[in-house]
Symmetry: C2
Subunit: 891 residues, 2 copies
């Protein structure tokens, strides 16, 4: 028996099912599953992703494919009573792509395939609607000409516009059947001119042309870009779904729509969506006509609406997840065209997951896994300050929640260019897949047309980006680089602010406030905490940051950068005096001024973190960073210190370094100026005993930066221990503390066994470790790193997500060597990778005790850590069994 | 039986032998061995190094030590017929340190110990020389006061000067016995005042004080500094040698001297040395009186001379190596006080080793191991150009060969300070151990006093540093920072040049010429080549360098830096145009101009290396390095290119990088500007086919720099292969070539298995690998690296000798991973460590195929590679047996 390349669905003879997503793609598997469970779908068949892979490898189809397609076509003809390419009741089909993962708008679709000059007449007769038949035909020629034959859609649109002008009408719907027939002829002439070949009249040729176009579209640049952004493998390929056409544009008893089983913005359990009467699906998605809320369908076509309600409930229960559905009502008959897991905002994802647990649909571990950690980002970022003075220009649809300020740009190229270095808001009449690269970099998206399910809205929600859609009051004047609304003119480069939660478009920049933590969010995080084994700390330099992080669930501070305190107020003067002193006495005087300030900082942080560990890093950056740069600053300091300007300038210049990243910094400062280490240790321990006297529970973990040899740590540690003893003796009180080191140089990782002998903990400084392992300055990488990512030389920016194959090897080596010497060595990570879910999964696997990240990423890290634990085969069995049993008991 | 801590020697009862250097130190073992084979030594005993270690750990002596010392003292009394601390014939002893390795001038010595007011009278009577007795006594008090009790020697000298002034005499020898008695009293008073304790009169107390001083002196800063420079472990400890005093200052039938069994400067087989009649040994070494050549002894005291001749021959044959001897003639009786392997210049080391093979004394493998690779440095560095116009100021003793130019400094601190950034010549009246830190950094040393065996001469030869000693015509005026000679005044900071081979002192800087390669050198190198398994290549960027290196035995080029060619002549203009073009077309035009120049360079190098492989590195440095820096240069380029100055400056500034070492360089240039790789590959292959047409045998190895991922190499290699095919096709001729990569980033080492799949060879770029592994910019390390070495935080500068524990781990990992994928992967190293003997030993062990170093270090690398092979236990047995058999057959 030959391999099966084609799977029929519909009419009680469905061959596939919902689990076959790899082979049939998401859409094909969804259609098969719907058909299998008795939801009405138009009969059709799916050509497998395997055929795509074979085709793209060798540009030919496997043997037997044509026969299988022919046989499946015959079954569709049988099921529908129609004939493909002829007869009184011609069978028209849609041809759509459908990959394993949903890629909205990225792949091309052909509708109404099977029409030609003969079948159009039959269609007109069968439907008793000549205008409909010719409108379908001209749409088909336009779409096929564009997608399969490469004639730009705008050229067809121009012919339509000319025709409308000639007829003196405004809307496409005002064109008559004759107009449409003539237009169809003109379209075919256009295609013949452009391609040098007549438009294919043979439906079989049309079908195979469309199939090939779907396969080819897998490799278009925009499809590749989408896959890259979303981390989808290029090797999967797409299936082709050939499906009986059903028509939502057969009159007022017909309709088409898109709906969600729950609100994809808020997650509320309401049936949600939009529909258009007498329209085809593309009209909804493209946002060309403003659709009606789905609830209105109850009035317009109550029977079909009830069927739809039943179907959506059945589908959600069946798939145990919120679904995104496409449907068409053809002359009163409902057909579901697609079901898939609904894209949703982070807020919605959380609420849906939590409520589905309450509804008994899913277990709590499933709920935790249902929310992608990155999705929480939207919930955690500041919102517009409601009390701020906001000049609202207009209000559109709240298409994707959150808030964003940026400078107005009017096209995706400008967005990509300016957005690289400043925040931009992309303002478009409506968006299309061609805009994707601009949408990726924009902070927010504003459109004048389209609804909640328009391209802009769907894509923005998928990216967790704020979007206001269909702000119809806006008058675009792209040619002059501006738009007007309510008598106000906004030009390219002007600041506007979008509130995607309310739909407001606001002039200028608006201050933001911290987000409210919802009850579903708090419950989900509690569940996540039950599963994870990694602790989550935060990087915080101030009591305020520490408090925010603690509210988000931080279990300590993993990185407190003492030098950030140096810049506050007039402290920088004392710091500069310390650096420029040139001798120990001068340094000592300046340090004596700094000591009480640092001590005060630490007291505040210890109080905010009462009961939790606080890791404090000793002075790290090259001293040059603290020195005045310009002439004015040098003169100012000269007046303050009494050092003559030329001398001061010379001393400042003497601190210049060729490669400051690899220079006199980190513990090298503490080695050459042991008094600085002494002063910082004194401030830490004095602060600790002071707050301990107030009853605060405190455990400082003192971290020595940029250690390359065990000897460096040993010497710095000796100073810290000496200072501790002295302070404890003076205070008559002791506190527990630890001394450890950053592992941020390859040499530290390579000699971690030696270093571990001197350390009570390691904290991986993956930012610097990435810089040194790659030999890559983060400040300079902009010249080539984007190109490297774009060309696939590296799979992602190693500063965003850990380079597991290189830097990760060093991390694993250091863990192994360190724990080999000291079994209970505490291991953490305080680089920015500590907030990146993929990296967190790796750190979990490497056996770290904690990750540390910025306050706003703490919940993301908690959830990512839970995912890592749930996906860890070493932990899975006993934990899952236990949790499932708890769930069962709670039911 | 208790542990033996004391070993007696002399009088046919010697307990130790020459192999016991670890326990008895070099001097003690030498004395024991001399006594054992019948060479006359004064009886005495050695306290072992073990006692030193125990003492320094616990500051107490092991049980039984006092008894063993007392017993050994009794044996000395018996052997000499003298009594320690009393009697008519009092026994006086010297107490000297003696470590495993010779550390000249570094450890302290006490002479004439045992004298007090009672024994001095007995001594006067026994020797019938009152003046001698009191002179010995005052010397003892001075020396003991200085070394053991810490009263500065200069304070004693002041008392002597006062006495001489009072007496109206000039020389010490003009002082009478009474003067000396009074001086001795004054010395003792001085000591009592300074220390608050009377000077010890009890000889036992004197002895134990001296022993303790020797042990303590092991840990003085200058001893530590010497050990650090010479790589001697701090853990060895020193022995104490207590030896019967013999006196070279008992009149004209007495003498003392230092001699060598062969000339330590040239290696010539002549008995060589100096002596002083009626003097003590310290007078020779300190250079205070000018000694006579040893041959003169044949006239002055012929019998003793003949005994000395016999002894030196016996000792050289016995130890099978050139010896450095100290002797004293006491009233006509010869005593050898010390024998040790003679320090020698590189030239002498080579000649002695080769001639000893000819004499049948040693085997060729021993000869190869006898010469330290670093010693060859002296033979290979340029010498003064004999034809150059040299204004000779004066001529001193040719104390250590070679030539050096530098600015005059008059004290070691100034030398250490200035010498860090410019060449200096240290000019001293005479040197002492306190000058050591200045001698280390000086290019050369000039003294006014002292002979060929003075401190300056011995230390300079040991360091392979040029030295002219005893230039007596020089009048020093240190106070005014200048010296005069022959009517010429030379001030601090003026340039002078020393010729250590002839003793000339020359005003100004003198050009140098290549050294002559001597016949013994050539023979030794041939032998070395028989043993080594590592190939030795050179780093050379020009045909001239390549030719020099080939003469020195280079077996190919391991690193040809193409960018160095970019700076020649007006090429830099084309390079700058290429960089600043801003678009591919502009770059292409500039590249077309560069192409023929690069091609011509490569042709020259290929011809010079006919038959040998040539590794060419593609463009590596950040482009900024090629751009004009100052305003004048920018204006010049603006005129040449027609780009307006402000625009040009902006373009230049746009290339500025925060950390250029980690920036847009190496293959990152080739990835972003593939046309540059294309141009360079074209120049290489066109040059290769051109010279191949001339009959030259050529094999370019094209090396891609700064690879961090396999994908980078793959893409660059694809370009190179494409260009090769195109060039070969056009030329109708093919040449063999390879494409490989530098391993100079930690990530490259960590992923060497992936990279090996794309590479035909690896070349370790250990300079950059050290920078990235340590996170240490070589340009900026000056602020802290010297301190790190000084304080022992790191054992040595990792840029000079490979950091085996860190960087070495990556090298080994890369070798293992690379060869795991590709068994025949060619491995080399082209960092500066390729010329460092210790690093070469490591590279041999890691299994590299070759090292590459600068042309003048090629012989050093060849010899170091031979040492590595000879010391490799994996290779030792069969090779040594074979070579020894060959030697036996040749005998």
């Amino acid at each position: 028996m030959p391999d099966q390349y084609v799977y029929f669905f519909g009419a009680g003879q469905t061959e596939g099912n919902g689990r076959m997503k790899d082979l049939l793609g998401g859409k094909g598997a969804g259609l098969a599953e719907m058909a299998r469970i008795g939801v009405p779908v138009p009969p059709g068949f799916t050509i497998t992703t395997e055929v795509c892979r074979l085709y793209l490898q060798g540009h030919s189809y496997p043997g037997g494919l044509h026969e299988q397609v022919a046989s499946a076509t015959a079954r569709v003809e049988e099921a529908t009573g129609k004939t493909f390419g002829g007869g009184d009741n011609p069978l028209l089909v849609s041809v759509r792509s459908g990959a394993r993962f949903s890629m909205p708008g990225m792949m091309d679709t052909i509708l109404n395939l099977g029409l030609n000059d003969a079948t159009v007449a039959s269609l007109a007769t069968a439907t008793e609607n000549e205008r409909f038949a010719w409108d379908s035909y001209r749409r088909f020629v336009q779409m096929y000409g564009d997608v399969v034959l490469g004639v730009p859609s705008t050229d067809f649109e121009r012919l339509i516009d000319e025709r409308k002008e000639a007829r003196g009408v405004k809307e496409d719907t005002d064109l008559s059947a004759d107009d449409l027939r003539e237009l169809t002829g003109a379209f075919k002439t256009l295609v013949a001119e452009r391609t040098g070949e007549p438009f294919p009249d043979d439906p079989q040729a049309q079908l195979w042309g469309a199939i090939e176009a779907v396969f080819r579209s897998w490799d278009t640049p925009r499809a590749k870009a989408y896959r890259k952004v979303n981390g989808i493998s290029d090797d999967l390929g797409t299936a082709v779904n050939v499906c009986t056409m059903v028509f939502g544009n057969m009159g007022d008893d017909s309709a088409t729509g898109v709906c969600f089983t729950r609100d994809p913005s808020t997650g509320e359990r309401v049936f949600y969506g939009e529909f258009l009467v007498n329209a085809q699906g593309e009209d909804v998605v493209a946002g060309i006509r403003d659709p009606l809320p789905i609830a209105r369908m109850a009035e317009v076509m109550p029977i079909a609406y009830q069927e739809l309600l039943d179907a959506q409930e059945k589908l959600e229960r069946h798939f145990r997840d919120a679904q995104d559905l496409e449907f068409t009502v053809e002359r009163g008959h409902l057909f579901l065209l697609q079901t898939r897991s609904a894209k949703r905002t982070g807020r919605a994802a959380v609420r849906i997951a939590v409520e589905m647990v309450d509804e008994g649909l899913i277990s709590i571990d499933e709920a935790v896994l249902r929310v992608a950690p990155e999705q929480l980002d939207q919930l955690l970022h500041p919102m517009l300050d409601p009390s701020a003075d906001a000049k609202v220009l207009t209000t559109g649809l709240p298409a994707s929640p959150g808030a964003a300020s940026g400078k107005v740009v009017f096209n995706p190229d400008a967005a990509a260019e300016r957005g690289a270095h400043e925040p931009v808001i992309l303002v478009r009449r409506e968006t299309s897949p061609e805009d994707f690269h601009g949408m990726v970099v924009a902070r927010g998206i504003l459109t004048c047309r389209g609804g909640m399910t328009s391209h802009a809205a769907v894509v923005a929600r998928g990216m967790g980006k704020c979007c206001v859609a269909g702000a119809g009051a806006i008058e675009m004047d792209e040619a002059r680089g501006r738009f007007s609304v309510g008598g106000e003119t906004v030009s390219e480069g002007d600041w506007i602010t979008l509130d995607g939660t309310t739909g407001r478009v606001i002039l200028g920049q608006v201050p933001t406030v911290d987000p409210e933590l919802t009850e579903p969010f708090m419950r989900l995080m509690e569940w996540a905490d039950q599963f994870r084994t990694l602790k989550v700390r935060t990087n915080a330099d101030t009591p305020a940051d520490a408090a925010v992080a603690r509210k988000f669930g931080a279990e300590g501070i993993g990185l407190c950068r003492t030098e950030h305190m140096f810049f506050e107020g007039d402290r920088i003067d004392a710091v500069r005096e310390m650096i420029l002193a040139g001798n120990p006495t001068g340094r000592a005087i300046a340090e004596a001024r700094l000591l009480p300030m640092q001590r005060g900082d630490f007291e505040g942080i210890f109080r905010a973190m009462d009961g939790l560990p606080v890791t404090i890093r000793l002075l790290d950056p090259p001293l040059h960073e603290f020195l005045p740069q310009g002439d004015a600053e040098i003169k100012h300091l000269s007046r303050k210190t009494g050092i003559p300007t030329p001398q001061l300038r010379a001393r400042v210049e003497a601190h210049h370094e060729a490669n400051p990243m690899l220079g006199h910094r980190g513990c090298r400062l503490g080695i050459t100026y042991p008094d600085i280490t002494w002063m910082q240790a004194q401030a830490i321990f004095e602060a600790a005993v002071n707050v301990a006297a107030e009853g605060v529970s405190v455990c400082p973990e003192i971290m020595v930066p940029l250690v390359g040899t065990a000897e460096e740590l040993k010497r710095q540690r000796r100073i810290v221990d000496e200072v501790a003893e002295e302070v404890f003796e003076n205070a008559g009180r002791r506190v527990d503390y630890m001394v450890g080191t950053m592992i941020e140089l390859p040499r530290a990782a390579l000699t971690a066994d030696e270093i571990a002998a001197e350390a009570q903990f390691f904290s991986f400084g993956t930012n610097d470790l990435t810089q040194t392992t790659f030999g890559l300055s983060r400040d300079d990488a902009g010249r080539f790193l984007p190109l490297y990512v774009e060309q696939g030389i590296i799979p992602h920016d190693p500063f965003q997500s850990l380079d597991i194959g290189g830097v990760g090897k060093l991390v694993e080596m250091a863990c192994r060597l360190g724990r080999g010497v000291k079994e209970d060595l505490k291991l953490g990570i305080c680089g920015e990778h500590g907030g990146d879910p993929k990296s967190i999964e790796f750190f979990h696997g490497a056996g770290l005790n904690y990750v540390s990240c910025s306050p706003y990423r703490v919940p993301i890290a908690r959830l990512a850590a839970a995912h890592a634990a749930l996906n860890d085969p070493r932990l899975k069995e006993p934990r899952m069994v236990q949790k499932r049993e708890e769930l069962a008991a709670a039911d």
